[in-house]
C-alpha cells in the first residue's frame, strides 16, 4: 500500500524505520535557526479536516512546511463540504487540483480507507489523521517515539492504556503498534468503556488501575470523549476520577522511571491531576514536539522515500 491508514498491519521494520527517520530529522533540525529541509519542494500536501483539531492539523502543517512542501489546509466548515459535497467528490477535486498527498481527519471510521480507494487510481497518497473511533496512526507513532526517547527500546516494556477505550482511535492504534514493537499492553477501563472483543486485541484487559501501577513502564491516559457518548457510561465525572484519574498518589505508585502520556486535549482534574500533567514524569509536551518530526518522517517515507506498508 502507498498510504498510512492504520498501524494494524504496519510491520515492525517499517515502523522502526519511520521512528528512526523521525529521530534523524529531529537531530538534524536541533538548534537550527531556520527549520527547513528541501526534501518535499514542489510537492503539494493538503490537510482535509472534517473535525476540529488544533494539535494534529498544526503538527502536520508544520511538518509539511519544514519539509518545504506546499501545504494547503481545507476544513469542512469553510469548503464545498459545507454545501453538501460528498467526500468522494471532494477527494477527486483535491486530486485533480494537484494534491500529492491528502491528510484527512474524519468523524467516520473507515473514511480514510474509502478515500484511499478512490485516490488510488490517480496516485494521490493518503494519511489517516484520525477516522472516527478507528485509528490515529501518527499519534501512535509519536507516542512510540516519545517512549523510545524516555525508555529506550520498547520490547518487553509494560504499558497501560487507561480510560475511554471504546471511543478511542488513539488506543486502537497504540495497541497494534506497541505490540508490534514488542511491548506488553494492558488496557484499563470500566467495563462500559471496553469494546466488545477487546480481549482479542492481544492486550490484557483490567478494570482496576491501582494494582497495575507498580508493574508499569508507562501509562497512557486517554481523553474521555463525552461528545461520542450516548447515555451514561459511568455514574459521574467524580466517580470516574476517583477510579481512573491519574492523581499524585497513583503517580507515586509508578516505578520511578515510568512515563506518563496523554494525547490531549486533557480534562485536568478528571482524567489527570494538574500536578501530574505538569510533572517531569509526564511527556505530554514532548509528545507534541515529537509529533512534528514523526509526521515529517511519514511524509518523507510516502512522498520522497520508501513506501510504507500499511
Amino acid at each position: 500500500m502507498r498510504h498510512l491508514l492504520s498501524t494494524e498491519g504496519l510491520d515492525a521494520a517499517t515502523a522502526t524505520s519511520v521512528l528512526d527517520t523521525a529521530d534523524t530529522l529531529k537531530q538534524t533540525l536541533l538548534g537550527r535557526e531556520v527549520k527547513k529541509l528541501p526534501t518535499l519542494r514542489g510537492r503539494t500536501v493538503v490537510t482535509l479536516f472534517y473535525e476540529n483539531s488544533t494539535r494534529t492539523r498544526v503538527s502536520f502543517e508544520v511538518a509539511g512546511k519544514w519539509m518545504s512542501a506546499d501545504v494547503i489546509n481545507v476544513s469542512a466548515s469553510s469548503s464545498s463540504v459545507n454545501k453538501g459535497e460528498s467526500l468522494r467528490d471532494t477527494a477527486l477535486t483535491l486530486a485533480a487540483a494537484g494534491a500529492d498527498c491528502v491528510i484527512m481527519r474524519h468523524p467516520a471510521s473507515g473514511a480514510a480507507h474509502r478515500l484511499a480507494g478512490w485516490l488510488d487510481e490517480v496516485g494521490t497518497q493518503v494519511v489517516n489523521a484520525g477516522d472516527g473511533m478507528h485509528e490515529h496512526p501518527t499519534q501512535a507513532l509519536l507516542d512510540a517515539a516519545t517512549l523510545r526517547e524516555r525508555l529506550g527500546e520498547l520490547a518487553g516494556r509494560r504499558i497501560a492504556i487507561v480510560g475511554d477505550l471504546l471511543h478511542s482511535r488513539v488506543a486502537r492504534s497504540n495497541v497494534h503498534l506497541l505490540r508490534t514493537l514488542g511491548a506488553e499492553v494492558v488496557l484499563v477501563a470500566p467495563p462500559t468503556l471496553v469494546p466488545a472483543g477487546a480481549d482479542q486485541w492481544g492486550a490484557e484487559v483490567r478494570h482496576d488501575l491501582d494494582p497495575e501501577l507498580p508493574k508499569l513502564d508507562a501509562v497512557m491516559m486517554l481523553r474521555v470523549q463525552a461528545e461520542r457518548m450516548h447515555g451514561g457510561f459511568f455514574p459521574s465525572a467524580r466517580e470516574y476520577s476517583i477510579a481512573y484519574g491519574l492523581n499524585q498518589a497513583r503517580l507515586d505508585k509508578l516505578p520511578e522511571h515510568a512515563v506518563v502520556l496523554h494525547p490531549g486535549p486533557m480534562l485536568r482534574g478528571m482524567e489527570i491531576a494538574p500536578a501530574v500533567a505538569d510533572s517531569p514524569r509526564a511527556a505530554i509536551t514532548q509528545q507534541v514536539s515529537n509529533g512534528v518530526h514523526v509526521r515529517m518522517a511519514v511524509l518523507y517515507h510516502l512522498l520522497a522515500g520508501e513506501e510504507l506498508s500499511a
Binding site: 494494524e8 460528498s86 467526500l87 468522494r88 474524519h106 468523524p107 467516520a108 471510521s109 473507515g110 473514511a111 480507507h113 474509502r114 477516522d131 472516527g132 473511533m133 478507528h134 485509528e135 482511535r169 486502537r172 469494546p195 466488545a196 472483543g197 477487546a198 482479542q200 486485541w201 450516548h230 447515555g231
Partner: protein
C-alpha cells in the same frame, strides 16, 4: 385462451421429466410427452418446476426515490428472480401510511404487470412509532393491505405494539416487526463484536433484536394477534422463536430470514465497503449456521429478500453516511441453493415451502404458493438446478447496483417465471 407448453420439467425436482400445459391462467394438464397444440413451447431440459416465489419484504422506493428503484424496475428484478408476488415496504417518501399511497403503489404494480405488488402499510403515522396509522382504511382500500410494518424502524413502544396486534385482529392483519430496541442501537453501524470493535464501528448488539422479539412474542400470545418477525439475524432470536413455537398458546408468530443473513458474516466489514452495510447487520458465523438450521427445521418460516436498492451516491461514500441495504431479488434463489440445498438442509419441496408456500400463507394469498398440479393457478418458476452463474451488479434489473454478491458465482438459475399463465421472464430477459 393462450396455451403455453412447458416441456421436460420436473415438479419439485422429483421423478422423470413431464410436460405441463398451461391454458389461460391455470395449469390444465400434467403428463409425459403431452401431444397438444400450444401458442408457445418452453423446452426446459429437466428444469425444476416450483410455485412462483413470494417475497414478504421488498423495498421498491416508489414513491419518492424513483432514482433508486421504481415499481417497474423492482418488478422486473422480481420476475427475473422467480417471484410472482412481492410485498412493498412502507418506508417510502411519503410514507405508505394511508390509503392514497398504498393504492398508488398497488395500481402501479397492476400497470406494470410483471409481478403482483402488494403494498405493506405503515403501522404508525410517518413510521414514528407514536400513533397508529389508519390500518383499517388501508385494509379496505383497493390495495387490500394485510401486512403492516414500520420496517426500517421498530415499533418500540410496547403499548403501541400491543394495540397494533389487537386492532389488526379484526380484519386478519399481520404486524411485521423490524425488531430493534432503539436505545441499544444508538449510532450503531455494525454487529457488536470483535470486528466492529477493531474497526471502530459502533456496535449493534444481538440482544437489541432478541429483546424485542421476545417481548412481541409474549404480546402476540397475550393479544391473540398475528406477528411476523422481519429479517431474523441472530442465533438468540432463533432460540426465542423455537421456544415460543413449542408452547401451545394463542396468537401466531412467523419469521423470515434474508439470503444475506444465511451467507455473509461481519468479516465483510474489513474493507469498509458500504455495500455490506445492512440493518440488521451481518452477524457471526455461528449466527449464520443457527439461521440455516432454524430455516431448515421450520423455526424460521421463510426467506424474504429485504431487497433494498440505493442510488450510487448513497452507497459510494463513507460507511457511517451510507444507507443500509442491499439488492436481493435476483440473487435470493442462488443463495438459498448454495446455503440450504447444496449442503442438504432443504430439498426442492423445502425451497417451495420457504420461498413460496409459507410466505403466501403468512400473507393470506389464495392464489400464490399453490401446489404444482392441474387446476391450480399457473404462478410458477422454472429453475435450472445445475446452472452456475456469476452475479454482475450492473447487469441486474434494479436501478441500484448495491449487490454484495457482485462477482460471486451462484448455483441455480431462474429459467422462466409465469404469472397467471403468462411468461414474465424467460432466459434472463423480462417478457412484457
Amino acid at each position: 385462451m393462450s396455451r403455453l407448453l412447458l416441456k421436460d420439467v420436473r415438479p419439485y425436482g422429483e421423478g422423470d421429466p413431464v410436460d405441463v400445459l398451461v391454458v389461460g391462467e391455470a395449469i390444465a394438464e400434467i403428463g409425459a410427452n403431452l401431444e397438444v397444440d400450444a401458442d408457445e413451447i418452453v423446452h426446459a431440459g429437466g428444469a425444476v418446476l416450483l410455485p412462483g416465489f413470494v417475497d414478504l419484504h421488498t423495498h421498491l422506493r416508489e414513491p419518492g426515490r424513483e432514482d433508486a428503484e421504481t415499481v417497474e424496475t423492482g418488478s422486473a428484478a422480481a420476475a427475473l428472480g422467480g417471484y410472482t408476488a412481492v410485498f412493498a415496504m412502507a418506508n417510502t417518501d411519503p410514507v405508505a401510511d394511508n390509503a392514497v399511497i398504498v393504492e398508488h403503489v398497488w395500481r402501479r404494480g397492476r400497470e406494470v404487470g410483471l409481478v403482483d405488488v402488494h403494498p405493506v402499510g405503515a403501522v404508525t403515522v410517518g413510521l414514528k412509532g407514536e400513533k397508529l396509522a389508519e390500518l383499517g382504511t388501508m385494509r379496505r382500500s383497493a390495495a387490500e393491505v394485510r401486512i403492516f410494518s414500520d420496517d426500517g424502524h421498530c415499533v418500540h413502544d410496547p403499548l403501541i405494539m400491543r394495540r397494533a396486534l389487537e386492532y389488526t385482529k379484526s380484519f386478519g392483519g399481520v404486524v411485521a416487526q423490524h425488531a430493534e430496541e432503539p436505545r441499544l442501537t444508538v449510532g450503531a453501524q455494525a454487529h457488536e463484536g470483535a470486528n466492529a470493535a477493531r474497526l471502530g464501528l459502533a456496535g449493534w448488539p444481538a440482544p437489541a433484536e432478541e429483546a424485542i422479539v421476545a417481548r412481541d412474542c409474549l404480546l402476540a400470545g397475550h393479544t391473540g394477534g398475528t406477528l411476523h418477525i422481519c429479517h431474523v439475524s441472530t442465533s438468540g432470536t432463533a432460540d426465542i422463536l423455537r421456544w415460543w413455537k413449542s408452547r401451545k398458546t394463542a396468537g401466531s408468530v412467523s419469521a423470515e430470514v434474508t439470503p444475506h443473513h444465511l451467507l455473509l458474516t461481519d468479516d465483510r466489514l474489513e474493507t469498509y465497503d458500504p455495500v455490506n452495510k445492512v440493518n440488521p447487520p451481518l452477524r457471526t458465523d455461528a449466527d449464520v449456521m443457527a439461521l440455516r438450521e432454524a430455516l431448515a427445521d421450520g423455526t424460521v418460516d421463510c426467506v424474504a429478500t429485504d431487497h433494498a436498492p440505493h442510488a450510487a451516491q448513497d452507497k459510494d461514500c463513507e460507511w457511517a453516511a451510507a444507507k443500509p441495504g442491499m439488492l436481493g431479488l435476483q440473487t435470493a434463489l442462488g443463495i438459498v441453493v448454495r446455503t440450504m440445498v447444496r449442503p442438504g438442509l432443504l430439498d426442492w419441496r423445502g425451497v417451495a415451502r420457504v420461498m413460496s408456500e409459507r410466505p403466501a400463507e403468512i400473507a393470506g394469498l389464495a392464489d400464490q404458493g399453490r401446489p404444482v398440479a392441474a387446476g391450480e393457478p399457473a404462478n410458477l418458476v422454472l429453475v435450472d438446478p445445475d446452472a452456475e452463474w456469476t452475479v454482475r451488479g450492473a447487469e441486474l434489473a434494479s436501478l441500484g447496483e448495491n449487490s454484495p454478491f457482485d462477482g460471486m458465482q451462484l448455483p441455480g438459475r431462474v429459467v422462466a417465471t409465469l404469472l397467471r399463465g403468462r411468461l414474465t421472464a424467460h432466459e434472463g430477459k423480462v417478457r412484457r
